[in-house]
């Protein structure tokens, strides 16, 4: 049984994956850092410590202005957090556009991400779901191809969650919405956009947790090797 050296992930997929992973991490850390300066969320156009709150995060704040119940104020980190947040957003958006653009063009999405017609039948979806619920270690063929739930999850992340987090982010920019007021108006207001941005962050984090869990279940080193070197050490015969 010869080990294959056939490439699993193309160089572009691997490069864009890791660039976006780093950018996402930077966005997450700096985003949470910015939240620390005002850990309260609102709905509608405006919100401040004098207005009704939708929910608040029970953490100390980095501003004296916010009544948190804690007797101390965290250090202000917003300057570099905002600089890095927006720079990482550019890196993520530009890299993501390259990935989606090339992926749609060169057949990556058609081959690897869009589910086959037979895969989206209720029966096969149920079968895949049951297999996931049993935490069954994936078969060898899954080293070579994404299963249907995985494909659907990636599609939701790429074509729904990322567009939504970019949109809700831009909807908070006073300059951007001066040119495109509908971007914030249809979300119900600037504070609604901020709250939705926060919610979509946690949906993306949930995806990341499941993604990592699945990688550990499938075999951490083999999947890491596939995404770094592009190769999979699996016998081809069993495919």
């Amino acid at each position: 049984m010869a080990e294959t050296v056939r490439s699993r992930h193309s160089l572009l997929v691997r490069l864009t994956h890791w660039i976006m992973a780093l950018a996402f991490l930077a966005l997450l850390v700096t985003g949470l850092e910015i939240v620390v300066s005002h850990p309260r969320f609102y709905w509608g156009e405006v919100g401040n410590v004098n207005t009704a709150v939708l929910f608040k995060i029970p953490i100390p704040a980095s501003r004296k202005l916010v009544p948190t119940g804690y007797g101390y104020v965290m250090p202000d980190q917003n300057g570099w957090s905002r600089y890095l947040h927006f720079q990482s957003a550019w890196i993520l958006v530009l890299t993501g556009l390259l990935y989606v653009g090339v992926g749609l063009f060169d057949g990556h999405f058609r081959r690897n991400v869009f589910p086959g017609r037979s895969d989206v039948s209720p029966k096969s979806l149920l079968a895949s779901l049951l297999q996931h619920l049993k935490f069954a270690r994936p078969g060898a063929h899954e080293a070579w191809s994404y299963n249907v739930l995985q494909r659907l999850a990636y599609l939701v992340v790429i074509f729904i969650l990322f567009p939504m987090i970019i949109w809700t982010g831009l909807a908070m920019s006073p300059s951007f919405v001066s040119a495109f007021p509908a971007a914030v108006n249809v979300l119900g207001g600037q504070q609604s956009a901020r709250t939705l941005h926060f919610v979509f962050t946690w949906v993306l984090v949930l995806f990341l947790v499941v993604h990592l869990l699945m990688i550990f279940l499938a075999g951490f080193w083999s999947r890491m090797r596939a995404m770094i070197t592009g190769r999979v050490a699996e016998p081809l015969e069993r495919v």
């Binding site: 005002h38 405006v46 202005l65 917003n78 300057g79 570099w80 927006f86 550019w90 006073p174 108006n185």
Partner: protein, 252 residues
């Protein structure tokens, strides 16, 4: 592994050269059309430059959203302000009759204006949102003289590219480009919600910049300097904000 063919090498070389040339041309054009912010050096320079350049191209003449009177926040939030100086207290005792804002730099007639003079100019008001970079916000009506009118009275020269503005509090000074300085919503505001601006909100005089977050709307304005370069102000980064680690351009 496939070996690199000559054709691939040539293609890669041409692509790299085209990319480098493209970047150089883009940088030159960006410089000429004022699309590079003064804090473009350093590790966050590329992101800042992209944000500023793209937003300037998209929003040069756009208007910040205006709201209806019923949307004015019943309880706007007064941010923390430093304790007033003795000079401020003296002016406050005189009900700010002696408050003056100097306009100098690249203007035909450097001069100063009293609040009464500013109030004699055509009045503009708007109900807009002020949002802090921290995340909170409120909506208020702002009343004042358009900065563009004051610059016209002083005779700002055509080579002007930026307007630097300073507070009576020496730590607070900012600058904006001419797109914001001449923008119809940019006001030297002396009124708020139908009354004078309370001191906590920047009274007697606040420069209201509607398309950037709150820290660009500096309180207690005493001096406005028109210039073609920000290099000679402070550390040359454009304003006090980058010196404290915050971005000069705050439209996002």
């Amino acid at each position: 592994m496939s070996t690199l063919s000559r054709r691939k090498l040539i293609t890669a070389g041409v692509a790299a050269a085209a990319g480098a040339t493209g970047l150089a041309v883009a940088a030159k054009l960006a410089g000429r059309y004022g699309l590079i912010p003064p804090d473009s050096g350093g590790v966050y320079g590329p992101g800042e430059t992209l944000t500023y350049a793209v937003q300037r191209l998209l929003t040069r003449h756009s208007m910040a959203r205006e709201f209806s009177r019923s949307q004015i926040s019943a309880k706007p939030l007064m941010n923390e302000v430093d304790p007033p100086s003795d000079e401020f207290k003296r002016l406050q005792e005189g009900r700010f009759a002696d408050w003056r804002v100097a306009v100098d730099g690249m203007v035909a007639q450097p001069r100063s204006f009293t609040l009464a003079e500013l109030k004699s100019y055509p009045q503009r008001s708007h109900i807009t949102m002020i949002q802090c970079e921290e995340g909170w916000s409120y909506i208020a009506e702002w009343i004042g003289a358009p900065l563009s009118h004051v610059l016209e009275v002083a005779g700002a020269l055509p080579q002007a590219r930026y307007v630097v503005y300073r507070s009576i509090q020496p730590d607070w000074w900012e600058s904006i480009d001419m797109a914001d300085a001449l923008h119809p919503q940019t006001l030297l505001a002396y009124g708020m919600n139908g009354d004078e601006i309370p001191v906590g909100f920047g009274g007697p005089l606040r420069l209201r910049v509607t398309r950037q977050v709150g820290y660009k709307s500096v309180k207690y304005i005493t001096r406005i300097t028109v210039t073609d370069s920000l290099k000679q102000f402070g550390k040359g980064l454009g304003s006090a904000s980058p010196e404290a680690g915050y971005a000069w351009y705050a439209g996002i």
